[in-house]
Symmetry: C2
Subunit: 375 residues, 2 copies
């Protein structure tokens, strides 16, 4: 993956190309034929004035005449691209697919970018037209969740402090700044009760992985996809069946565990979609890592720290690694791959053999759950 951050030095295609070349290089596979390039990208048309990224990136990488396409489910675009690559290989249609997730957004004024995010993630006639932004919607959900389980915003701050701390050990992360609980609780309000430290930043960046039918001859500890499953729920929260859970996550994770033949307590490390701090807590419950309402206690007890029983967001999460929409789902898998290979350096989880990623489109409208295992 590229360094995430404000990348005024590089364009969208250049970021995607750097990540793609990195993945090909890592696989020691520059010479082998790549059958397809699938690009996960949320909104390059509105953000960068260009569409059709699949062929553009494939051409820049010198991989023609391979198949190429873009897959879009807003912020779950990256993991949907991985899902398609996985199926096309497992189904016997292709042998080798390069997946690149990329987004560039910091060149726009924050207000303009926020509007594009709303057009990408809120319901067009039920939310967007009324001016609902993602932080506004997330704030309402956060308030309900905290109230239901009698929690203070201190728990949100604990997520931010942990993920900022992890990001400091990740040279690719956007935010490289240690913060204390006091810093978090004093940071400016974005949408009550969410503060700046509760929201993922606007970030540019790209990440890539090469999926293959078989590991290459001299592979570094190959990582295997055990299951990748997707589900969709209503876009508007008030129309969903559940108030304190993400229905599509429960559905997708149940399917993924079934396909993988694993249980939540058999996962060694996880990447969750903490676009807002509350989501890391809610997701860790809905996946079944903790009982409903118990994420706060696990957080307080250090269970989700790098040296805890179930490390979550070792790379810094969306919160501190940054959240370049279409790149996020791929960056999660890159982090987990490094963890499973034992290449995560200072932030290495001891002997991680299994891993889970949860990637959201919007506020859980789309959810993709991926389970990986070290071969």
């Amino acid at each position: 993956m590229t360094k995430f951050g404000k990348r005024a030095d590089m364009g969208l295609v250049e970021l995607a190309t750097e990540a793609g070349l990195g993945a090909l290089n890592d696989a020691q596979n520059e010479e082998a034929k790549v059958d397809a390039v699938y690009v996960g990208n949320a909104a390059s048309g509105q953000l960068c004035g260009m569409e059709n990224l699949g062929p553009i990136v494939a051409e820049r990488l010198g991989l023609l005449p391979c198949e190429a396409q873009r897959i879009e489910t807003t912020t779950a675009s990256g993991s949907c691209a991985i899902k398609q690559a996985y199926r096309d290989i497992a189904g016997g249609f292709l042998d080798r697919v390069l997946v690149v997730g990329a987004e560039k957004m910091t060149h726009l004024p924050t207000e303009d970018a926020t509007k594009v995010l709303a057009s990408s993630m809120t319901h067009p006639t039920g939310e967007t037209v009324h001016g609902a932004s993602m932080p506004a919607l997330a704030a309402m959900f956060t308030r309900k969740y905290l109230d239901k389980f009698g929690l203070s915003t201190r728990y949100l701050a604990l997520v931010a402090v942990k993920n900022h701390s992890n990001a400091l050990k990740n040279p690719y992360a956007h935010l490289q700044k240690k913060i204390t609980l006091e810093d978090a609780l004093a940071s400016p309000i974005v949408a009550d009760p969410l503060r700046v430290t509760d929201c993922a930043p606007m970030t540019d960046g790209a990440a890539a992985i090469l999926l293959q039918s078989k590991p290459p001859a001299e592979s570094k500890a190959p990582v295997k996809v055990r299951g990748i499953e997707q589900s969709t729920d209503r876009q508007m929260f008030y129309q969903r069946a559940e108030e304190f859970s993400i229905g599509a996550l429960k559905d997708a994770s149940t399917k993924a565990f079934n396909v993988a033949g694993l249980k939540p307590n058999e996962i060694d490390v996880a990447e969750l979609h903490d676009a807002f701090t509350v989501l890391e807590m809610v997701e860790s419950e809905d996946i079944g890592f903790f009982s409903k309402g118990e994420a706060a206690r696990a957080l307080e007890n250090g269970v989700t720290q790098i040296d805890g029983a179930l490390p979550i967001n070792t790379g810094g999460g969306l919160k501190a690694r940054g959240h370049p929409l279409g790149a996020t789902g791929v960056a999660q898998i890159v982090e987990l791959t490094w963890q499973l290979r034992g290449e995560a350096n200072e932030r290495q989880v001891h002997d991680a053999k299994t891993a889970l990623a949860c990637n959201f489109g919007g506020l859980g409208n789309t959810v993709v759950v991926t389970i990986l295992e070290r071969s």
Copy 2:
């Protein structure tokens, strides 16, 4: 499919929904579970201020919690969505996938829409920034092709006259106007030598098909996908290996014929991507229906008319049915399905058993070739 045209009466999501419901209804399958909705759309963000159409359309159709995503390769988006649906079913991952292609663009001033088309189909740093539009690029190619084979623009006009005539027999077509050779040759110049009648119009519309692993019990003459293959070439014409052919089309059609076990002379009816009239001629040669430079003679001799030996663009083509970018690849398959089922009424090709569709992204940067057969 919906009526194609200037659909000021309906929004993008409403068009997609009408087409989707039509396909479900046609399959007599409203009650059966749909595993996924794949939406082909080129540029809804820039054109309509909304992204994330997969989940939005799936929700509107009442198909949740199915998988849902958008697939984008500019004007080949529709056929790429079909390709993914086909593979996910043939690979054993899903049983039933609804593919919806949709685009809405006529609400924008033509100049603004033309700019979006350029951002979607021309090369960002090699063409778009220099102000190259699609008609300008197509005009240069047309001029070269006509010159190479000693042809006059009269042959372009023959394509337009034929496709307008076919569209008059298709109630779903956008342009319902008979034109003569003289009309075509007198129509205003868009980009010399292309006239208005040589260019597909700006059109709104949607089309949908339901792909299933097995035909339902009481099926109307089921249509089978024999092969669907994709290839990609350089975006900029001057960098391509061939000057008078579309390399990605030759590659994709060769692969599709191999997979299908068929030859060009075994195809009974074809839908080609005539965004500009010259493309129908070039494509019919590159697929192998006619020798290089011989499309003009076939056209003159009526071979490609509805009652000819190889009817092309019976539904009116992009030229006269209209070209709602992401919908086009799906509309081609809808037309061929009607032909194979014997449901094409006034424009029915006698006893069509096999069919081929060619869908371009841009000027053949991406090409998808689909071969269908009546079961």
